[in-house]
């Protein structure tokens, strides 16, 4: 893996635990909908889920460390602009992100926010990780050319998702900084 300069983060499941009930329903809806068919009721459901989400205890210290390391951090999500804005405001996370890409300002869902985030940050995709906890996330990261890294929140689900061949996986966000340092050290060491 090449040196990592940027991380794209899907807040759902990577920065916060979202309520499984209504949000799962929404997520299923998202999978079945076309990209131009989001209604105000969908956005309201997203904001409801955001309001009920609880941020992971390690999120803020991990983001702070990554920023201190000079890693470019972007949100890249299929959520609406309003939902992402509410999420960042609620958890005071705005300061950590150099850019926030959502389905509204990126002009699409799934891989579209990722591609826009990489392009606008002038990063090479091979130097970028996308944190995700879904098979769909792994797939869209691959299609955008960035490295999908699995957030292994639930061991059983993570074991299933590991079959989708992510570039890596972490148990906790606080491991991402070590992940990046390891890759840097391996690259400076050269091939064995």
């Amino acid at each position: 893996m090449q040196a990592i300069e940027g991380i794209l983060i899907e807040p759902v499941g990577c920065l916060a635990e979202f309520p499984p009930g209504p949000f799962q329903w929404y997520w299923n809806l998202l999978q079945s909908m076309g990209e131009s068919s989001f209604s105000p009721s969908v956005e309201a459901l997203e904001i409801e889920a955001v309001n009920a989400a609880s941020i992971y205890a390690d999120a803020v210290p991990a983001l702070r460390e990554l920023r201190a390391m000079g890693v470019h951090l972007s949100i890249a999500s299929s959520l609406s602009e309003a939902a992402i804005a509410r999420f960042l405001e609620k958890h005071c996370l705005g300061e950590f992100f150099a850019a926030v890409w959502n389905r509204d300002n990126a002009g699409g869902v799934r891989a579209v926010p990722l591609v826009r985030a990489v392009q606008c940050a002038s990063l090479q995709p091979q130097n970028v990780m996308f944190l995700t906890d879904t098979a769909e996330g792994i797939k869209i990261a691959r299609s955008a050319g960035v490295h999908p890294v699995l957030m292994m929140n639930d061991p059983d689900e993570a074991r299933r998702l590991a079959m989708h061949n992510p570039a890596g996986g972490v148990v906790s966000l606080h491991e991402i900084s070590d992940f990046i340092r390891l890759i840097a050290a391996q690259n400076s060491r050269g091939p064995r």
């Binding site: 699995l150 292994m152 061991p155 992510p166 972490v170 148990v171 390891l182 050290a185 391996q186």
Partner: protein, 329 residues
């Protein structure tokens, strides 16, 4: 098995030169009970160049120093430690621990240095999975079967437990390790030697020894007066397994009053885990039956078991109670 080259240096300096020349592609070869298995299992991380240190003088000895302590050469066989009258007389708990490492056959081959610096025995690593220690970027133990070889005290990238017993048993004696490095001799406490998963030379490893350094000996200070110590170990198969949980405990007693204490757990974390909170509770107390309950309630407050290994914490606490009971008998 991949093709390997073996060097047989006759001095430590020569060995360090060879290690420096080959970088992380080379590794020290002594007993071979860990290294050769990694090669046999075709692990990505196994070295290509082996630096056989068995013929180097002054690495295989057990000798008393003028202060009454003991120095043990890193290439000394575990069986030689187990049979040592000097160690039995001065540090019986260490001998007790060594006798619980592996099997008699393996103790005849394994060295003290090898036991201290051995690779983890996670079944996913040893099975050739592309994990953090084997060229990959994921811990399969964290999401798979972690009932045995994995940490119940959290982790950082790799969640395998540090498997050695010698380090756990040496920490209560305040033993120190001597390393030969290109810059000269370096001395570390055993806790500093094996601090758990960390990034060294672009690799995740349990110890701090760099690719061009060699552990040469372990120095144990003279036994303190009034010390009673015990080593407890729980393992699935009593004849030779790694610890599900282990405990090395030593109490320095004045009559029944505990003047000083060392409590170190093995087999439950990525390093030998010194439990200073329990040590603090024990100090100044009268050694009694009730103290076991109090110590158990204080122990391992930061436990973070994985899905299948919470029982390790119960085992470790049970060992603490039984260890204290044994020392109180």
């Amino acid at each position: 098995m991949k093709k390997i080259s073996i060097y047989k240096p006759s001095t430590v300096d020569e060995a360090i030169q060879i290690l420096s020349q080959h970088g992380t592609s080379a590794a020290v070869y002594a007993g071979g009970t860990d290294l050769l298995i990694r090669l046999k299992n075709r692990l990505e991380q196994a070295p290509t160049y082996l630096v056989d240190i068995k013929k180097i003088d002054h690495l295989r000895f057990i000798k008393e120093d003028p202060q009454g302590g003991v120095e043990i050469g890193a290439a000394t066989k575990l069986a030689e430690l187990a049979d040592s009258r000097l160690l039995q007389e001065k540090y019986p708990m260490l001998v007790e621990a060594v006798n619980k490492i592996s099997s008699p056959e393996l103790r005849n081959a394994s060295t003290l240095g090898g036991d201290l610096l051995q690779e983890v025995w996670c079944q996913y690593l040893r099975g050739g999975y592309s994990c953090w220690r084997n060229g990959g970027y994921l811990c399969y133990g964290a999401i798979g079967d972690n009932s045995y070889y994995h940490s119940a005290m959290g982790g950082r990238l790799c969640y395998a437990v540090y498997p050695g017993d010698a380090a756990t048993a040496l920490i209560p004696f305040d033993a120190r390790a001597k390393l030969a490095t290109p810059q000269g001799v370096k001395e570390l406490s055993i806790e500093q030697l094996v601090p758990g998963d960390l990034l060294v030379d672009g690799r995740i490893q349990s110890h701090v020894v760099r690719f061009n350094e060699i552990l040469t000996s372990v120095v144990i200070p003279p036994p303190k007066p009034g010390v009673r110590a015990s080593f407890e170990k729980l393992r699935p198969r009593g004849v030779w397994d790694f610890a599900m949980a282990s405990l090395a405990i030593s109490l320095q007693l004045r009559d029944k009053t505990i003047d000083d204490a060392r409590v170190v757990f093995g087999g439950i974390a990525g390093r030998p885990l010194r439990e200073t909170a329990v040590e603090t509770v024990l100090k100044g107390k009268i050694l009694s039956t009730e103290l076991g309950e109090q110590a158990m309630s204080m122990a391992l407050a930061n436990a973070a078991p994985l899905k299948y290994n919470a029982t390790k914490i119960d085992m470790a606490k049970g060992l603490l109670a039984s260890g204290l009971a044994k020392l109180n008998a």
